[in-house]
Symmetry: C2
Subunit: 388 residues, 2 copies
């Protein structure tokens, strides 16, 4: 297994794209990524594209072939990966494996979701497919309800407060102001979060990531090839790529206040990279709900279990904190076009490590980490990055 680096990145803005189709979003992100890499389309040998629920959102499957076609990349192999909200992370990991194996030198990795073409009810049903439909959604539990159970369990076990959860959203909105691709570029206050309506108690509207359209893409290249081709100017190497699974249904978990798959994937990633949590300069963590980020930073070892709420409230994960988390604005404020998220996280790492993150730049960023979660935690994918 050889080294693999990101040598180009591109994304659409995240938000409600009434004027752009699924295919146009793919073209925009894909062409931007190819252009950024300085490569030609003929240099790309395979595509790995993440997409969660295009079947329900737009009636379209066979997304691998669609991506290759849309970008004029036929006849190269093009494959869709799905792992609910971790579809982008899983696509990145499979592209990484294909290059690390020596099978390909250069591949494109993308994530795409167009969620706003259906009603909120239909979107809610589609997203429910990330959990166990049989025992959860069909019994009346929407996805916010599942995370509400987890949040409630964390509150009961560790004394986490709703204000602490609100501080996650406040921080992520603050970061998003400086991200030109973010869906919500407005600051909010803890009071505003507290006064927003309950979606599923204790989670309120401003604790929840939105429904979004968007696409993100990166170009991966074998690190040795990137050096040889003098493509290492902005190259960011993936120094760890790990994935783990947990039970699909919450009812089968050991407890609801921790995300076991994320903990396992993180531990393996630190081992693969040969680093410790304290060595991480910044992280993109999967904050589909504010409480999820609290559990994420605990699983990633940035603070002790149970202390994620206090840790956030004290500002440790702010842009100028000990470990800045979700400088992009996270899922909450950058937006969450499901499968695009995992790839967008990798783009944020690429930008930060190249000091291209503008006003949200983390000073002296040397090591980045991304944490992408599927469903209520049944899939977790962790990647760690450093400048090549």
């Amino acid at each position: 297994m050889r080294g693999v680096s990101i040598v180009g990145a591109g994304q659409t803005s995240f938000g409600e794209h009434w004027e752009k189709s699924f295919k146009e979003l793919i073209a925009e992100a894909g062409i931007k990524a190819i252009d950024d890499s300085g490569l030609a389309r003929k240099d790309i040998q395979a595509v790995y594209g993440g997409c969660m629920a295009s079947g329900r959102f737009i009636g379209q499957e066979h997304i691998g072939a669609l991506i290759a076609d849309q970008l004029g990349l036929n006849p190269i192999p093009s494959t869709r990966l799905e792992a609910a909200c971790a579809s982008g992370g899983v696509a990145l990991r499979n592209g990484y494996i294909a290059v690390a194996s020596g099978l390909y030198d250069i591949v494109a990795v993308g994530g795409i979701e167009k969620m706003t073409e259906v009603s909120t009810e239909d979107a809610s049903f589609a997203l429910g497919g990330a959990g166990d439909q049989e025992t959860e959604l069909f019994m009346g539990a929407t996805f916010p309800a599942l995370y509400a159970l987890m949040a409630r369990s964390h509150m009961k076990e560790f004394g986490t407060t709703e204000e602490q959860m609100a501080s996650v959203s406040v921080k992520n909105h603050k970061n998003a102001v400086h991200n030109p691709f973010a869906q919500f570029r407005t600051e909010i206050t803890v009071e505003q979060v507290m006064q927003s309506g309950y979606v599923a108690s204790p989670l309120k509207l401003l604790d929840c990531s939105p429904i979004s359209d968007g696409a993100a893409a990166v170009i991966l290249c074998a690190s040795d090839v990137a050096k040889k081709m003098k493509m290492d100017g902005k190259a960011v190497e993936i120094i760890a790529s790990t994935q783990a699974s947990d039970t699909l249904a919450l009812a089968h978990r050991h407890n609801l206040y921790e995300t076991r798959a994320a903990k396992i994937a993180a531990d393996q990633a630190y081992k693969q990279a040969g680093i410790k949590p304290a060595d991480v300069s910044f992280a993109e963590a999967h904050d589909c709900f504010s409480a999820a980020e609290i559990m994420a930073i605990e699983a990633l070892g940035f603070c002790k279990q149970g202390e994620g709420g206090k840790f956030t409230e004290q500002g440790n994960t702010a842009l100028n904190g000990a470990i800045p988390v979700n400088t992009s604005g996270g899922l909450k404020a950058c937006g969450h076009p499901v499968a695009a998220t995992g790839v967008k996280q990798a783009i944020e790492a690429y930008l930060q490590l190249n000091e291209m993150a503008g006003k949200r730049q983390v000073r002296g960023a040397e090591t980045g980490l991304t944490h992408n979660v599927g469903g209520s935690g049944a899939t977790a994918v962790v990647h760690i990055y450093r400048r090549l």
Copy 2:
């Protein structure tokens, strides 16, 4: 990249499984495959599962996590692959790459589809997602209609007859009689095919593969590890694994009478394996429609372009012919639970090469080939197998 072998296989019967759930089908095929390999669950390091349209068929996504959970394999990485009707083949190929890379020694690969829980109209819409919804299905073209255009083009270009197409179905039904897992274990005649109603002219009901439920699974092991662990008794090595893409919509193809992605994947596979079409002892080809098998055997080089109809009518692809095709009964008669098909094809190769195919055994089978197609040909996956 090191050698990879199939060391175990299991499948459910294909058909209408009113009494078994999606999850139960996965458990049945998965446990059979693990048992057949002689391994324990703890030996399996990752799962690659193909599934096309579970979102539309049963409202469930996140199939990778679901499979791992259902088989008690947590917390290993488990990933869903989708490439329409080639989802199984693509899952096999990604499992192969992961083992060939050295990342894992042993992985499970599966394919699953439960299609009978929705109305025929809804199933038709879901399957339409394999083509270009925007320019095809939404304009009124069902999937049989797309293949009818291809069949008509082949007839016009090469003089292929409806009787020749019918001979594909007749042969595949004849083979299925001897496959205990097949959906239709009854012989049919050319006259019966000719008299069955038109679905989309020139394709009649008996030219079309059915809507089916089913699951199939294989266990892959690095060939050197299989030898070391004395697991090489029934081991079948994958000596080539290739994939190619074409435009999603028929309207963008150079012509409609050939499947270009299949030709490219086949040529690459022969090159990887270091063999010629004449070296293949038997093949499983993607006969979603009878005309598709005719185009498949041309793309695979078993006969010249345009001669697939005559070649089949003359018995060359029969069980005792020069190159037996679809000894399992193919999609037409074994059934076609979409994503299970590509994995079932690999199981047929495993059985044939181990002389475990009973009355449908190909005598002296040394080299097997499988050809799995997504949509109207936008994805093609080819694998070639030999005893380890």
